[in-house]
């Protein structure tokens, strides 16, 4: 009854029809977003007509060449960025490398020998691995610190700080405005990883003065498996952004075939090599589901979904069987709920067999992602109910 009423009042309910879904409750959109219905036809056109018939002409006439910045501009409003600051391409890991090395180089422009990169100690591992490489290759030490403790370790040595907006495991939302301000107070740039926030909640890159940001597009942006990531370089820093991966796509005159490198102006400077067009144009089509959607509406529904899930879990699941790892406070919650449970791996397998798909993160976390564009309150109630059944077995 509650679920029906909530679904009836859901202003985003109609968006569900724009996705290919079945009777599974899909709560893994924070890992791989569901397929937007517009994508298959678009991909077919890209393959059969643009590649198969127009072939090489599509690079110019078909808009392939400018896709990275065009699609970047399509993502921009979802993360609070004005146009001209985002390019799409490469993986998140590769973009973390560009952003972090670029940040260290920005920090050193004042001539001071800053030599410490601060990185979220709880980060999704790849950011930490890449940060270690970036530190090694820029002569920095790497300092892993929990996000809440970051302000206490900043100082004259700080060359750059790499943080996650939402923790991939716990679903905790970090305070981007306050942490950005703290990093700026010591004169260093900050790099935000938006993988688990973009498309789920307001980010406000421009508003909060973020220097650089990266994110993937296959979670809440539904771009498809391994769809290209993106890089944000704040407008005012672009002419000083010095990429460690200066491929020909970022040259001021890429078809001049000149032996000397001269970086392009603007976001294009973040490009590297030839963009993977199939994945890129599938993403472009997938972004059409955002037409007419505000991030505020998405955030409101996301919080309502996670609130309702917690309420249902409390009502159905025997006390003490699971422990919620995700903060209760809205200001500290992303769009997922993580439940600690001793036998989480086994429980998730059984949930999936019963048509409730979340994922398991070692050693003991059940992760449920709530994508407001296609998850309804009825799904949420069912997921909690099936979880309770599985835990009672």
């Amino acid at each position: 009854m509650r679920a029906e009423k909530l679904d009836g009042a859901d202003v985003l309910a109609g968006k569900r029809d724009e996705f290919v879904l079945d009777d599974v409750v899909y709560l893994d959109g924070n890992s791989l977003g569901a397929l937007p219905a517009v994508v298959p036809g678009r991909v077919e056109d890209v393959v059969r007509r643009q590649w198969g018939e127009a072939r090489i002409r599509s690079w110019t006439e078909g808009g392939w060449w400018t896709a990275p910045e065009r699609i970047g501009d399509r993502i921009a409003p979802l993360v609070g960025a004005a146009p001209g600051q985002i390019v799409v391409g490469d993986s998140t890991s590769v973009n973390v490398f560009k952003a972090l090395v670029g940040a260290v180089r920005l920090a050193r422009l004042d001539g001071r020998d800053r030599d410490e990169i601060v990185v979220d100690a709880t980060t999704f591992p790849t950011d930490g691995y890449i940060a270690e490489s970036a530190a090694r290759m820029t002569g920095c030490a790497l300092r892993p610190v929990a996000p809440a403790e970051v302000p206490g370790v900043l100082g004259d040595r700080t060359a750059a700080v790499l943080l996650n907006h939402v923790d991939y495991r716990s679903g905790r939302l970090h305070d981007l405005p306050a942490l950005t301000a703290a990093v700026h107070a010591v004169g260093a740039p900050v790099v935000w990883d938006l993988c688990h926030s973009a498309g789920a909640l307001p980010v406000g890159l421009d508003e909060h003065g973020v220097d650089l940001a990266v994110g993937c597009t296959y979670k809440y942006l539904n771009g498809g498996p391994g769809s290209p990531a993106y890089l944000y370089v704040r407008g005012e820093s672009q002419d000083r952004f010095d990429s460690p991966l200066p491929g020909w796509n970022s040259h001021a005159e890429p078809f001049g075939m000149r032996s000397g490198y001269e970086p392009a102006a603007g976001a294009v400077r973040g490009r590297v090599g030839t963009p993977d067009i199939l994945s890129m144009l599938a993403l472009e089509a997938a972004l059409e589901v955002w037409d007419g959607v505000t991030v505020d509406a998405v955030r409101a529904k996301s919080l309502a979904l996670t609130d309702f899930f917690l309420e249902c879990v409390e009502a159905y699941v025997p006390e003490g069987r699971v422990e919620c790892v995700t903060p209760r406070a809205h200001a500290e919650r992303g769009s997922q709920i993580a439940l600690r449970c001793a036998d989480a791996g086994d429980v998730m397998e059984r949930l999936i067999r019963r048509g409730v798909v979340g994922d398991f993160r070692r050693p003991d976390v059940l992760r449920f992602g709530f994508t407001p564009l296609y998850v309804g309150f009825g799904d949420v109630e069912r997921a909690a109910r099936v979880l309770a059944e599985v835990l009672a077995e």
Copy 2:
């Protein structure tokens, strides 16, 4: 008549039916290969069933996770490599960075302070730009030298050498065995860029002891626009390969989510972030056209095609109107013919309007690529005839 006879004797003639082609003479497969007919259906399956229906399960059950090394093994015989040494992913530029930094680190394992990277001065520009960054980030000087002069500049300072197997502009084939041996004689590793040779002629990576190699897959391998590139790391060097882009996909236990980086064994160590599955699996389908084809047969036809093109150009085009930039000697020729022509840009536009598609490389080069799997001798004759007509206008 000559053309008909040659086509009649062509053992690869039947392969043309495995591509989507029209009445255009497509001599730009050295830029973007034509669409293999098997690709559209496969991509549709990847999008609609693997992503749309199986969703996240496809990462394991659908073979997505292991695609980079599986497809690498499919490319391996085309470049003379045993299995387990190639991974597919990222762009060529990003792979040049991994390979070149990795090469410098290999060279320094003996404790000597090698500090010079030698790079082909005539290279496609991106290799030079990336080499400059790799040099800067490893404390090396960059020394651009024409390939023929490379042996003369090698010495104790040499940290790594980056060379192109076939020159992108002139179509000149460089002597991979001799140059590799020369680099090895000073104890340094060599990185070969195979963009313009893989799929067109024998490479022999294993046979000639090449240390590292990279290449794109959208030219003679027909993987589609911006399809992922590949990285070869010689088996015996893999456990010492130290990637500057150690993303989570190259971790020994990627789903262990450990904060410390521990590199995987084997070719997997060359991976970085989440692979772009749509482009990757389109490439996998495209590689099926190689079933039953030997590289030697491809090379034989390639030389016959370019010989015949030169013969037709000499017969039809007024003397002195164009000058062949590509070497006449088979041992020095790739699978393209480059003709210098003062008004090359304008000439190519007119050729394309008349159904002969090559490309123009500034300032004055007409480039014609011959893909033996789908270009016939009749196409070659027609291209030369139309060229003569255009030049006579």
